[in-house]
């Protein structure tokens, strides 16, 4: 009898491997969001009252914070997608680790910048 190994979870994670895992997870999160979004919009079919009701439910602080997360997830998926395109068409494989860190810090900076209007809305940073 021979011992066969499958997916190797003990393999040391590399930058490219982590980038790939995050891309899959962010993709799944976006799929989930898309479903949720269609569900919310579909309330329009049932008239204004139904839509206003679901919007009031979504206007809570929890969903505002989740929206900041959604913004970060979109940014990562887009910027890492551009990184993958550069690997595909511009020889980016030779500097893919640098590309990942550029994408990573852009995600951090843009998520924080993008969070400011959300936080204003929550009266955390002031505003009306």
């Amino acid at each position: 009898m021979r011992y066969k190994s499958g997916y190797d979870f003990s393999y040391k994670l590399s930058v490219g491997h982590v980038a790939w895992i995050l891309h899959r997870l962010s993709g799944l999160a976006l799929m989930f969001y898309l479903g949720l979004h269609i569900w919310v919009i579909s309330h329009l079919n049932a008239g204004a009252e139904s839509f206003n009701k679901v919007m009031a439910f979504l206007n809570t602080p929890l969903f505002k914070v989740l929206e900041i997360g959604l913004w970060g997830v979109i940014l990562y998926h887009v910027l890492n997608g551009i990184r993958l395109l550069l690997i595909d068409f511009a020889g980016g494989a030779r500097y893919h680790k640098k590309l990942f860190w550029v994408a990573f810090f852009l995600v951090l900076i843009l998520t924080i910048l993008g969070a400011i209007p959300f936080l204003h809305h929550l009266h955390i940073l002031g505003g009306k």
Binding site: Y3, K4, S14, G16, A19, F89, G91, A93, R94
Partner: protein, 234 residues
Amino acid sequence: MKKTLEVFRYNPEKDEKPYFQTYEVEVYEGMTLLDALNYIRWELDGTLTYRRSCRSAICGSCAMKINGKTYLACKTQIIRDIKSDHIKVEPLPGYEIIKDLVVDMDNFFDKLHRVKPYHITHTPPPEKERLQSPEEFHYINEAADCILCGACVSACPSAWAGKDYLGPAALLKAYKFCADSRDEGADERLAIVNDRNGVWRCHYTANCMDACPKDIKITDYIARLRNMLVQDKL
């Protein structure tokens, strides 16, 4: 200075399950992991089984998983390259294990043969030989360095998950011949790699490039193969 080697052991004729055995080895500056394995086999435990031959990173026999990453044992210096005092040595992941650190490479070479790793020509041979200029060689120089150790395939998550995936080594070889100015079989070969188990199964985790002991930018060559496939269709 002593280091501890935790070595994967499995003898299918005797053991029900694989286990790890630890050995203490006195290490010195310049000693390679292969030297340490030789010391274990020759001085401590003659039953330890592993592949080795050239001990100078040319034959590609001694690829194994060293502290969680695949690389050649003979190209890993035990003090300079491994900071930890504890070294875990395992066989290449993704292959069937024959005994201890020896894996069955049949699957690896079968895939290599599938991409037709030889010159295909349709024109009659010239009087002496098919010449290649240094500029033409430049395109395949790096890709031709492959020593077929299998470390890249073992490092690839796509290869672990899909056992029919051609894998980085075979795709690199396909590129090498497709980009060779003397070869005329690129269309045949591209038709083989243009498959869900060919170039399109690579997800650019680029583990293969980290694992390659010859420092070949394999992921870049897989991308170039994809470009060869799509350049006429965009």
